[in-house]
């Protein structure tokens, strides 16, 4: 009973945060990690995230429209 409620609680938060497309959420996290890596290496990193986010959005839309 408790395990089932905990599972439902976890599922609710996963769906609340990750939404319809979990792949996009993972890709966003990876893009931020790459930005952190660039910054840690002393490279200008600000330019990376905006186009990366747009690529993630485009890929997510393609998955949605291909049905």
């Amino acid at each position: 009973m408790i395990a089932r409620r905990l599972a439902a609680f976890g599922r609710f938060w996963w769906e609340f945060v990750a939404g319809d497309d979990w792949r996009a959420s993972v890709q966003v996290a990876l893009a931020v990690a790459v930005t952190a890596g660039l910054a840690a290496a002393g490279v200008a990193a600000w330019w990376f995230l905006p186009p990366a986010v747009l690529v993630v959005l485009y890929a997510s839309l393609r998955r949605a429209t291909r049905g």
Binding site: D20, A44, V53, T65
Partner: protein, 252 residues
Amino acid sequence: MSAVFLVAAAFLASAVEMVEALTIVLAAGISRGFRPALAGVGAAVVVLAALVAALGPALSVIPIGALRVTVGVLLLVFGLQWLRKAILRASGHKALHDEDAIFARELEQARGAGLAGRGGLAGVDPYAFTLSFKGVLLEGLEVVFIVLTFGATQGSIGLAAIGAGAAVVVVAGVGVALRAPLARVPENTMKFAVGIMLTSFGTFWAAEGAGAHWPGGDASLVGVLAVMVAASGALVAALRRRRAPSTEPAAA
């Protein structure tokens, strides 16, 4: 400039969620009675207030760098969900959010739920109570999330709360006056704007929290916003050109 974005984003996001919550509460109230529906609203507000009271101070003690990267990633994930749905709706690949249709469906379900549950605990109809409670809690959670993350990252939960509070007053006031779902609110356009704002703020803060330095500091946010607006418009235009029959059902 950031303060204006902060209040505008909190206002728009809260207004959209309030319109959706109002539709559910009205359906519960009209079909089953306003007493249990408003009791559900009250209970949900208490839970949301407890969440804000618990999480607000906790967020303020997290170092700003760690907070910005965490909040940035969450906002990006959240914003992309909104933007994705908004682009699909604007390009005709997903049915537009229709409060009239949702209201009619909720009303029918509430009326069809039967009278067996009426007069439950303390004479309160549990169906109407639960319907209102869940509707306000779920829509309110998104508002709480946006207000807390925006406010904490910008160092002003108060400003974000003002934006959200103004939306609650406006939508609730109009809803009480009309006693009808606010179908004329340009909800889909507002969702598009909120999606772009959340994604832009998320991109800006996540990059900054990850250690990147934006040229021009906070002024870069306007540039990020402009890029997101232009790219979203281009994506809508591209998807319209290769429009296929709607495959996804309308959802919140």
